[in-house]
Amino acid sequence: MTPEAMEGLRRFYEAWMKAVSASWENTLRNPAFVAAMGQGMSEAMDLRAVQEAAVEKVLKGMHFPTRTEFGGLKRQIADLETKVEQMRLERSRPPRKARQKRTVSR
């Protein structure tokens, strides 16, 4: 391939990239596209929630604890852990002192 042909190809590619990128950019910001993407995501999550509810119904029938029940407990434990850790850090906070040196030997 001649250098002229290569240069032509390169220019064609650059123009194509610019046009396709601009077109995609418009699509990605298009309100209809954004709404459809949101709706698709929402419906996928609804499907997952329905599956989860079905599993929980079966578990409940067998007197097994469900994910929701475990989740509630874990949330409470996580909140308590945050409070306890905050108190521990507050109690162990070192006293502030005046500083002088700017470099230290290692």
């Binding site: 995609w24 949101g38 230290v104």
Partner: protein, 359 residues
């Protein structure tokens, strides 16, 4: 001499077997070299503190004297923090060490079910506070110089507002503050009208990394799926470029899930309600006021950032209460702040000087 294949199918089988043998040989000889060339996070370090999944890394400095106030690097939860020490010659950590700073890096770890219900409040007031405390203790200092990148910058801002006495200087790298300042795709897709974050977190728990990676890829699909590979093809004889490219690809594919509750609050309070910029964010009982930040601030903006547009990160300089503050515009993209030539040769040596001068 082996007899020629009897049928076309036999010939095809022979060709395939030859290809397979060649490919296996190639992998056997080349793969270890590729693995070695792409070994990331190589700067010598030790883990000085662990808490749950969190690790605090301290890098070994060759300098005889290091600056007293240590630097703590805080990256986002979305990807692994070794982007700040990607490869020798492409490492922010390396530049800061050479400048005589005592460098620590916070690695949040990979969250599991244990982290699913941990809140943004826990991540900032417990995990980040513990890391700041341990950094200061290990360096024998009272305060730290916080450097926060992207979401890590938001965490660092919130931390500095809540615990101003712990932070000597604050450096932000592409940290979003005013989430409504630019109508970029991520902002539009994350808007409350289009995105029900409660449904997503309730269904998924921790948000899988592929979901986040897909969203980031979609922000510039043509560049991410075509442009960068064409660029690679044109530079195949540039070993340095190929090595950096492959290391970046490795990092991009090495994503981390985001803890569900952190994601919920981050999307709701920051992306959707913009509470941080409005001064109305609360972490549990703690109000977060950026005006409470009084320490020197260096706000680094990536001019070509498509994930955190400059309009979103620039307002931090105006919103904090610091007297000494500086905005630095760098002609690079979001990740370029950590790995590009301009960042490593100009930005970080200058940032290190600024940190030393102000701490």
């Amino acid at each position: 001499m082996t007899p020629p294949p009897a049928t076309l199918a036999d010939a095809a089988k022979e060709v395939m077997a030859g290809w397979e043998k060649g490919a296996r040989q190639l992998l056997k000889t080349v793969a270890p070299k590729v693995d070695e060339a792409l070994k990331t996070g190589r700067t010598p370090h030790e883990v000085v503190f662990r808490k749950d999944k969190l690790r605090l890394l301290r890098y070994r400095s060759k300098a005889k004297k290091v600056h007293e106030t240590p630097v703590l690097l805080v990256f986002a939860l979305v990807n692994k923090p070794y982007i700040l020490d990607l490869l020798p010659g492409h490492s922010v950590v390396e530049v800061l060490l050479q400048a005589g700073l005592d460098v620590f890096l916070l690695d949040w770890g990979v969250p599991g079910e244990d982290e699913r219900y941990k809140s943004l409040e826990h991540y900032v007031t417990v995990y980040l506070q513990s890391a700041v405390r341990e950094t200061a203790r290990a360096a024998g200092s009272e305060k730290v110089n916080l450097v926060g990148y992207c979401q890590g910058g938001v965490f660092s801002l919130i931390y500095t507002a809540l615990f101003p006495h712990d932070v000597e200087t604050l450096t932000l790298m592409a940290a979003p503050v005013d989430f409504h300042a630019d109508e970029n795709p991520l902002r539009l897709w994350g808007d409350a009208a289009n995105f029900d974050v409660d449904k997503v977190v309730d269904a998924c728990g921790n948000i899988p990394s592929w979901m986040l990676a897909a969203a980031f890829l979609m922000t510039k699909p043509v560049d991410n799926l075509v442009g960068k590979y064409v660029k690679l093809f044109g530079k195949l004889d540039d070993e340095r470029f190929v090595r950096l490219f492959m290391a970046m690809e490795k990092w991009v594919a090495d994503g981390v899930a985001i803890p569900g509750e952190v994601y919920r609050q981050f999307i709701k309070d920051l992306y959707q309600k913009n509470l941080l910029a409005k001064g109305k964010l609360r972490l549990g009982d703690h109000p977060v006021k950026l005006k409470d930040i009084r320490c020197p601030l260096l706000n680094i903006i990536a001019a070509h950032d498509h994930l955190v547009p400059p309009a979103c990160s620039r307002p931090a300089t105006k919103l904090v209460g610091s007297r000494t503050k500086k905005t630095l515009d760098v002609t690079t993209g979001h990740i370029g702040l950590a790995v590009s030539g301009i960042a490593l040769k100009k930005l970080w040596p200058g940032a290190a000087r600024w940190i030393k001068r102000n701490s």
